[in-house]
């Protein structure tokens, strides 16, 4: 399986988090998965400006030539996309959210009724399944995890995919591996 990990950790000095992700990547590769681990803080990505060039000037592609173009390509070729991030102020990092905003070109502006609601039409045949891996902060509680999961569940609907799990770095690497491996 082709796996893309979008890693929204802003703190390069968090060795515990980095070690967890490194172990997960190693375990997935040992399980014969092809893994791209994209550390967003090392990428050059501009914020989305809402210009909609990606929908009406250069359909399917952001007008700005930044590293989000490669992330879009990696996303659409992946079978599984793992959003990994610490929880900061009750939500994944701004780095991750900025990158998520830049996935908008992968969808079409046209609207269709899906599950009795308006959602964007697909631009591509298929989209990767989604998972969430969160590092809790001292103030993160079960309500935060539910709120985040609900929002990413909604994102998966618009992304024409499914959110298959939300897990935290409190769980052993092997459990996260199994959750991905059994998809």
């Amino acid at each position: 399986m082709k796996i893309l990990i979008l890693d929204g950790q802003p703190d390069a000095n968090d060795v515990q988090y980095a070690g967890y992700l490194r172990q997960l990547v190693q375990r997935l590769r040992a399980g014969n998965h092809s893994v791209t681990h994209t550390i967003i803080r090392e990428q050059s990505i501009k914020y989305c400006t809402g210009c909609w060039s990606c929908w009406w000037k250069t359909p399917g592609r952001c007008f700005v030539q930044d590293d989000s173009q490669q992330i879009c390509a990696d996303t659409i070729h992946a079978d599984f996309l793992l959003f990994a991030s610490p929880v900061i102020m009750g939500f994944p990092s701004a780095l991750l959210k900025k990158t998520q905003d830049k996935l908008i070109p992968l969808l079409h502006p046209y609207i269709q009724i899906v599950h009795k609601e308006c959602h964007h039409r697909k631009r591509y045949e298929s989209y990767p399944k989604l998972g969430l891996l969160l590092q809790k902060s001292p103030d993160t509680d079960a309500e935060d995890i539910k709120i985040i999961t609900d929002i990413y569940d909604r994102f998966s609907l618009n992304f024409r995919s499914t959110l298959d799990f939300t897990m935290t770095t409190e769980q052993p690497v092997e459990e996260v591996f199994h959750a991905i491996n059994h998809l």
Binding site: Y47, G60, A73
Partner: protein
């Protein structure tokens, strides 16, 4: 003390969020000495300055469009700058405005839950969230199509000036239904077959000579 409004639209001043908040401010300042200051979160380098404005304010409204089912990245960047203020006494009362291109308010309810928790996390009194769907395209709508919407935002500002609160009656006016009725969905499906529902996007695609490329898959 002025009402502090943080505009979290990635389009900054040229945004639908601005159009709505301009109406709110007009109502808020009508016939009194009230003042409102608007700060644009697209200037991400101002995060520390914005944090100071936040901590010194009495009333703050954070307004933004729904982006991939949550707040835009620039708004999350701002929220992270507020982290040192968590639980501090004297934080301002905090309200939110979330607008979306989707017609159903339901899409915004999940980020609304986050915003309510955010106010609690900061130790701010939560003033509520104004939710409005179907906002994309209002910049090019004729005045008769936006009159009612703008009037409601104006009235929300008038009410806020009097009571430091969002009128629950006006909030209900903005969101009469959470989802589309069976009849409306059926009409939408029929109009979709004719292409009428895509009029806004098609007009821009044609204007930019991109109509033939509208179904491009550059990363396939």
């Amino acid at each position: 003390m002025p009402l502090i409004i943080f505009n979290g639209s990635p389009r900054g001043k040229n945004s639908n969020t601005t159009l709505l908040m301009d109406q709110f401010i007009a109502g808020y300042t009508h016939g009194n000495d009230n003042q409102a200051q608007v700060h644009y979160l697209i200037h991400t380098k101002d995060a520390d300055k914005n944090m100071e404005l936040f901590q010194d304010a009495e009333n703050v409204i954070l307004a933004f469009p729904l982006y991939t089912d949550a707040m835009p990245g620039i708004v999350k960047h701002f929220i992270e700058a507020l982290q040192p203020l968590c639980g501090r006494s004297g934080n301002p009362r905090l309200g939110f405005v979330v607008q979306s291109g989707f017609p159903e308010p339901h899409h915004c309810r999940f980020v609304e839950a986050y915003l309510q928790k955010l106010a609690k996390r900061l130790g701010c009194e939560y003033l509520g969230t104004i939710v409005k769907g179907g906002v994309e395209g209002i910049q090019m709508m004729p005045p008769n199509m936006t009159r009612k919407l703008f009037k409601t935002f104006y009235d929300l500002g008038v009410f806020f000036a009097k009571y430091n609160a969002f009128s629950s009656e006006l909030l209900r006016e903005l969101t009469p239904r959470e989802n589309m009725s069976w009849l409306r969905r059926t009409i939408f499906r029929i109009l979709n077959l004719t292409g009428l529902t895509n009029f806004y996007w098609n007009m821009h695609l044609k204007k930019n000579n991109a109509w033939d490329k509208r179904f491009d898959r550059p990363f396939a």
